[in-house]
Symmetry: C2
DNA sequence: CGCGCAAAAGGTAGCGCTACCATTTTTTGC
DNA sequence: GCAAAAAATGGTAGCGCTACCTTTTGCGCG
């Protein structure tokens, strides 16, 4: 009894072709370029496929055609609301294209990122979207070897691997802090968590804006590598106030911290902005509906995801954008929490 | 000039085998079962692979072996914080296993879900995790045809496709509302958004708890199919108060709405809980740090993701759990926002 | 009515890997 | 010290699909 390799038992393209009375290659074309078939054959293949419940084998397709219809996406966190907006943009833009998104989570670890990139490499994605511009040399080497369009998102900077869509966190933070100063605030604290590269650049903007106004004081700075959360914002404000009780404003590394700071102010019966101004970063949805509404830096997260995919898809089709680096900018949303000081 | 099919140009296993002086199949084994090689060959293959920078071709592997090392995950939303916790559990549990997660977003559409399931089917994942228990008949048929372990998460119910990890949204809502009543609240409103199946079951719990106490009144109910947000919570409370100005408590379909309700109360100078009690659902991180702290129903989201993956992985290895349906329960977190009424 | 050309369809030969045996080498038991 | 069992290795033949090229068909036109 001849024992041959077990077949998968699934319907194959050949069976569909046979039922439709065409050659396998014609059936194959039906799924890839239906307009290349004559209407009669198209009809026959379609009904044969439906009758048999044919499901194409993507692995076989990928192997034979040497390409996949997958776009890999690397993001550092799923918990952070910021990325959910980026992802919405990514998913929306990929909708309708025949590409599907493969998401991976680096957890803010560049080593994890390196590993995931190698995993993606084995998958030969048609395109790649990675977060940030601080990859390891090894990661860069892998990306450069991947031979597919790559978009770095969230930031802009020199020396893109391929394409870039983002904005300057430094400039945005600089603008936010520079807005507070003429409003009459002097003892402006910085609270930051996670301290990933982007938060560090925001800190840089804060520092330089403060120095430019001769207001910089290291006692006004409270940071932690702990992942960000709303609760953490409260503790960090408590720390800040114990170090610098005369703090009259806080620039927060992100909006979650800002909301935590607001709650802590409420708990301490500090009124905002009279006793304490608050400025956040990202302008998440709740900032406008908090009481009082909180000032923040609006960033175009949805659009960032959307453009990254659009650029990658265009590049796959050979239409590279004229300018590989796109700066989407930011917008300071001034609200009651940073109103001019009356004192 | 003979024109043959273009090779990918990448290093293949054969090349690695040649350099290592072993047969291709031995090299292949090195990557799948290294302990089956003698130490000397293992060493030689390893260094050959490294020297050539070999990257395995996953498509070829999947085609030849008839399986993949991918677990498909279908969730309805990326924006909703609830799922980010589930996803963390999923990613954490898959870490270390050789399986990778392929995430897809149904956007609360069962038709989208159907389509994505078909896409997954073509990929032959080793396992599948889907959200909820309300799939279309067509979706169920696809899942049953997929011949891989499947876990439904977020809810428990009768008739699992395969396995289930969740809790009863009905019971949780019933418990939350039943807690409010003996505290002295009578005119307890319900605000809900999105109104996906789980929120509808929460509403069922609310309704039945209210009816059981003879407090049910349709004027106390405000819902919208619009996706949930914090801001929306404020508008829904406004609607509720215009329909039923004597409302003295609100049970919110989720925590975002609850926070929005809190902000709206602050805006209207209604004190919580004296003028208005608030109860949310899910117990997101901010509930405990809000001012006042907000009562909510804690759900084991992280654990849900973790167990789902653990169960699927075990099932892949042939170790099906004795009980296919796991109820992770819930916990009512009573906080100041639902303190006993003084009036 | 045959010619030329484009469109449609088909044949062949892999894509890079692993399942399934068969074979060789090493270990073990007595 | 030798047979039997176990471990390590190799040869062969696909997995299901599509690239590449060739052949057939359809059709307008002189």
């Amino acid at each position: 009894m001849e024992r041959k390799r077990a077949k998968s038992g699934e319907i194959r393209l050949t069976e569909v072709a046979k039922l439709a009375g065409v050659s396998p290659i014609t059936a194959s074309r039906f799924f890839r370029k239906p307009e290349a078939l004559s209407p009669s054959k198209r009809e026959r293949v379609a009904s044969a496929a439906k009758e048999l419940g044919y499901v194409p084998n993507l692995a076989a397709r990928a192997l034979a055609s040497q390409r996949t219809e997958v776009i890999g996406v690397l993001i550092p966190s799923l918990t952070n609301n910021v990325f959910s907006d980026v992802l919405r943009g990514i998913y929306d833009a990929s909708e309708g294209s025949r590409y599907s998104i493969q998401l991976a989570n680096t957890r803010y670890s560049i080593l994890q990122e390196e590993q995931l990139l190698r995993l993606f490499q084995a998958q030969k994605p048609a395109g790649l979207i990675v977060t940030g511009i601080d990859q390891t040399a090894e990661s860069r080497a892998v990306m450069e070897a991947m031979n597919c369009p790559i978009a770095q998102i969230m930031e802009v900077g020199p020396d893109p691997v391929d394409m870039m869509v983002g904005f300057s966190h430094y400039d945005a933070a600089f603008a936010a802090v520079s807005h507070l100063i003429p409003q009459g605030y002097q003892r402006i604290g910085f609270v930051g968590a996670q301290m990933d590269p982007r938060v560090q650049r925001r800190f840089g903007g804060y520092r330089d804006a403060m120095k430019a106004a001769s207001l910089f004081d290291p006692r006004l700075i409270v940071t932690t590598p702990v992942p960000t959360s709303i609760t953490l914002g409260g503790s960090l404000l408590a720390d800040l106030l114990s170090k610098a009780p005369d703090t009259d404003a806080v620039f927060c590394g992100n909006d979650d911290l800002a909301l935590g700071v607001l709650f802590e102010c409420q708990r301490r019966h500090l009124s905002v902005p009279e006793d304490m101004a608050i400025v956040g970063f990202n302008d998440l949805e709740f900032m406008a509906s908090a009481v009082p509404p909180l000032t923040s830096v609006r960033t175009n997260r949805y659009e960032m995801g959307r453009s990254a995919v659009t650029m990658v898809l265009a590049a796959i089709d050979g239409n590279r954008p004229p300018e590989p680096v796109v700066d989407l900018g930011f917008q300071l949303m001034v609200r009651e929490s940073s109103s001019p000081r009356r004192a």
